[in-house]
Symmetry: C2
Subunit: 330 residues, 2 copies
């Protein structure tokens, strides 16, 4: 009798997927960042992110507005990963009766601010009492631009792996909070992540982009999700990973290796995508003329093997598994 902890998050999702029926109206079901549903002549995207106190956030280290922002950002990022437009959100909240009303108002203000930044609003939800801990579930509804959206699958052999922005700052920010270090830039990256909605839509409109995911569980794991879904392997070149100054400095000061942050740190909410090599230069230049967000090629996909490698060597390249990792992001 196997437990959920032994099977792990992704094993459990596989088992549940086999168990549940599907329908012709489900264009993309369980397993991608959003489900894609056919409603008459339109497509609808839906996703949800569940955040639990003391698993995903702590009340003593983040302000309620930050907790709300982060919870909404996680859902918004799922819409970004499909290159789509966020529209509406439903929020389920459970909290103990002794929480101040003003605290809950700040939390909703944080969620609403994150959603409003990208044109989406809270339209309903559910509120209920919990025994001790706060529970937040943010469901988001979006729609694709012109019926086109990007999936995790679709990378082809030889495609390059590229990422927006940089990775590791959020995990280092959490590390700084946990160790009592004042690191405003890193803590900001952790507490107020910025989902790449506009960048995702732009990338989605370009045929040179074959597959996309948001980096929520760590670059290594999320890149492997694209590879697995596409039936390929992925190699990440450590030297190519963009190392931002605040992360480099923090690691130098605290004798830490930045690489695990960059590879396995969660909650960056950047985008990772598979890019046709022949269109790479033109795409990178066009992106740079459109956005201030950097974009960097950090690896490539191959059909010579499967799984994830670092500098060509088989590597565990671990990320977060919600049932297996002691401290886990969304």
């Amino acid at each position: 009798m196997q437990t959920v902890g032994e099977l792990g998050e992704f094993g459990l999702i596989d088992r549940l997927t086999k168990l549940l029926p599907t329908s012709a109206l489900v264009v993309e079901g369980i397993g991608d960042d959003c489900a894609v549903l056919r409603m008459h002549d339109r497509l609808l995207l839906v996703s949800t992110d569940l955040c639990l106190e003391d698993i995903h956030f702590r009340r003593d280290t983040l302000a309620p507005g930050q907790i709300g922002w982060k919870a909404a950002a996680a859902s918004l990022s799922d819409i970004a990963a499909m290159g789509s437009i966020p529209l509406f959100s439903l929020v389920s909240l459970a909290c103990p009766g002794n929480v101040k009303v003003s605290y809950i108002e700040e939390l909703y203000r944080g969620m609403s601010n994150a959603l409003s930044s990208f044109g989406a609003i809270i339209v309903g939800g559910d509120t209920t009492r919990s025994e001790q801990k706060i529970v937040i579930d943010v469901m988001i509804i979006g729609e694709p631009l012109g019926n086109r959206f990007l999936r995790r699958r679709g990378a082809i052999p030889g495609d390059l792996l590229a990422i927006t922005g940089s990775t590791g700052a959020s995990a280092a920010g959490l590390h700084a909070i946990q160790h009592g270090h004042a690191e405003p830039a890193l803590v900001h990256a952790h507490a107020t992540p910025h989902p790449r909605i506009a960048e995702g839509q732009w990338l989605c409109a370009r045929p040179a982009i074959h597959a996309m995911i948001d980096i929520s569980d760590g670059l290594a794991q999320d890149a492997r999700h694209i590879a697995n879904a596409s039936g390929l392997g992925v190699n990440i070149a450590a030297a190519r990973l963009p190392l931002i100054d605040p992360l480099a400095q923090y690691c130098a000061e605290n004798r830490l290796d930045p690489l695990p942050f960059m590879l396995s740190g969660g909650e960056d909410y950047e985008l990772a995508f598979a890019l046709s090599p022949s269109d790479a230069n033109e795409t990178m230049n066009a992106f740079a003329s459109e956005f201030t967000t950097p974009v960097t090629i950090v690896g490539e996909f191959t059909d010579e093997w499967t799984g994830g490698r670092l500098d060509g060597a088989p590597s565990l390249l671990t990320g977060f598994d919600h049932f297996k990792t002691p401290s886990c992001p969304d």
Copy 2:
């Protein structure tokens, strides 16, 4: 500094509603059973129900398939309350790592069975680890039949209050479970409630029905929700409430008054609606020829006063407030 427990569920919802922006695409926002959203030329209905272990259910008194069924039924019933069609569901689940995989599979099978009974399917969601307790959030997406749906508001003075089926069996079933009494009919009503999807759609298509709600928090409270939303008062006639045999028998055997179960017991998932008196006979007869579900007139709406009354006398007519009631349903 007021707490959420002092303010109560409905006070909190009022405060959050004032705080949050809305948009022209929101046909019906926070405060009804579903939000109604405009997506181009179509309407979309969405709702969510959060169920927490040891608040909404206990693992030692219900089987996992029953817990799943009940969680999905609560969301389906919100679609029934608007007279609409359930289509898709997203499920967020948190559970501790030591839960058996087979337990979670049974729970999802229960949800899937409830949804499938009404033509809806699970299309995605989120899974994550919790410290000790199971958390289930079932979000549902539906659409109205021919762009018509029923709201809580819309009752007019003189309208009759009618209900499908009967109330109190679910709460009495919970009472029986908690007191170790074997009461198969009542326990079944509690463990496997049957949302009134077809009945809701039929009622919604008739202009004689002016407003509707599902009875999830207790008839008295839910009837008052219609009255409040319509700016009216509602009077319930105790003698008119349908008292089913198993409830009558259980109360007689255990020296209990059935009235509190019928008025304040939650989770019946029947429908309560406001019915034009001039069309009442014809509507009741047509309903009876279409469904085996009974329908009963149990009160009326008035503009002479506001709030809820029982047999004409002002009465607290309490129901469940998730932050104020010690044991609470969805």
